[in-house]
């Protein structure tokens, strides 16, 4: 049986505690300082970037808490950026291209090779930012702790999900609009929502009266407002006439009503903005 529900902290992360370190501070970056001996490299220290700036210069023991929930590394020999927000740390010298850690940082000078072997700061344990908390649910057979995002049924890192606000089934609308706020006296969402629909007449139509033909790639064309869902006719720009967009109702001259009208219509109104001016951080941030 696989793990299918993950509730709580979603990424692995290395927590940092100590005097002056704010609550919920994590390692966002690490750079080892190493020396070469006999053809091998050995860790002699490590610099860590923090997700939060200390409220006071750290003092006393600094403790790293590893994701397994039991392993720790305690340091009493270190330097830090203190409360600075501009200080930088270069963990080893010898070239201008060596990595630099920007504040806030702590340089643990007593973290040696044995510590590296026992409690390595694995890159997979460092999300690079504050770790996420939330809920993930995976599909049957997929382990929620390791599976790809495509194998999730629900992921709280999403900014929008398919919450169904309204809908209908089996409506014969003909050429008329349907007000999806009427049932239950629903309040307007304040934006034009995403609506997913299916109806009897779908796909391509090619019809004519013997002398003139019209071809429409998709007969199931709809207009959505903040309250209504309306079957439409596509129009083409002719000459210098101002283009007014699709026309309400289905009225292609050469296509019969039977083949174009909105019949047996079912739709879902999702609580997701889908209109110019609403695809912004205000609604998706």
């Amino acid at each position: 049986m696989t793990n299918r529900v993950l509730l709580g902290q979603l990424d692995k992360a290395i927590r940092v505690t100590g005097t002056g370190i704010p609550e919920d501070t994590f390692v966002r970056r690490r750079e080892y300082n190493q020396i070469s001996s006999g053809g091998s490299f050995f860790v002699t220290a490590v610099g860590i970037g923090l997700t939060k700036t200390p409220t006071a210069s750290p003092s006393g023991d600094i403790t790293l808490h590893f994701p397994d929930g039991t392993s720790t590394f305690v340091s009493d020999s270190y330097t830090s950026s203190g409360t600075s927000t501009t200080s930088t740390l270069q963990t080893y010298t010898g070239g201008s291209n060596n990595p630099v850690i920007f504040a806030p940082w702590i340089y643990l000078t007593d973290y040696g090779e044995n510590d590296f072997q026992a409690t390595p700061l694995s890159s997979s344990d460092i999300p690079g930012r504050q770790p996420y908390f939330g809920l993930k649910v995976s599909k049957e057979g997929a382990d929620v702790t390791t599976c790809a995002q495509k194998d999730l049924l629900f992921d709280s890192t999403s900014v929008r999900t398919g919450l169904v606000y309204a809908g209908a089934k089996g409506l014969n609308l003909g050429d008329s609009a349907d007000n999806f706020l009427t049932t239950g006296s629903k309040a307007s969402l304040g934006y034009i929502p995403l609506v997913i629909a299916v109806e009897k007449n779908m796909g391509n139509r090619l019809e004519g009266d013997g002398s003139e033909y019209v071809e429409v790639d998709e007969i199931s064309l709809w207009k959505t407002t903040t309250s209504t869902f309306t079957p439409c006719t596509a129009t083409a720009l002719g000459g210098t006439t101002t283009y007014d967009g699709p026309v309400d109702g289905r009225g292609y001259d050469q296509i019969s009503s039977t083949d174009e009208n909105a019949l047996n219509v079912s739709y879902f109104v999702l609580r997701i903005p889908c209109a110019y001016g609403y695809m912004t951080s205000t609604y998706f941030g």
């Binding site: 709280s156 809908g167 209908a168 089934k169 239950g184 997913i196 609580r271």
Partner: protein, 148 residues
């Protein structure tokens, strides 16, 4: 860091402390105080204007065990599936592929009608004089009423 997951007793913004459920806000929004629109999972308040469900496709077993089905030219047929036990019935989401090469690139090529559907099949007619490949997904209907 804001509270993103509320499991158990509700808050005023979630319908009151007499409500129990699970609510999840979108990143950066406090689940205890945010608006309903800022929720990505919502245990609704039970009102007629509230959320009706999640738009999640239903797993069914199709006749051909595939997600696409070919319908012969000018033919009416049933696309059958099993393992669906939703008493309000289904709503099929169907479409055809568009060519990716040639002069008709990006244009829909299939014309069809969805004549009827039950909890075990969708009856469709291919209006074209060539075979049509359709893709089918099944959504559960959320109500016995025409609108919900």
């Amino acid at each position: 860091m804001v509270d993103r997951v509320l499991l158990g007793k509700g808050t005023t913004a979630r319908g009151g402390t007499s409500k129990y459920g699970l609510w999840i806000s979108r990143p950066g929004k406090d689940v205890t105080t945010c608006s309903d629109d800022e929720l990505i999972f919502d245990t609704d308040k039970g009102g007629s204007a509230d959320i009706k469900g999640m738009f999640q496709l239903q797993t069914v077993t199709a006749t051909a065990e595939t997600t696409t089905t070919t319908v012969s030219a000018s033919t009416t047929t049933n696309i059958s599936f099993t393992n669906f036990n939703w008493s309000f019935g289904i709503i099929p989401i169907m479409g055809t592929a568009a060519p990716t090469t040639g002069i008709n690139t990006g244009q829909y090529q299939g014309g069809f009608t969805i004549n009827s559907f039950t909890t075990s099949s969708v009856n469709i007619t291919n209006l074209q004089t060539t075979a049509l490949t359709v893709s089918l997904s099944v959504m559960p209907a959320f109500s016995a009423n025409a609108r919900f």
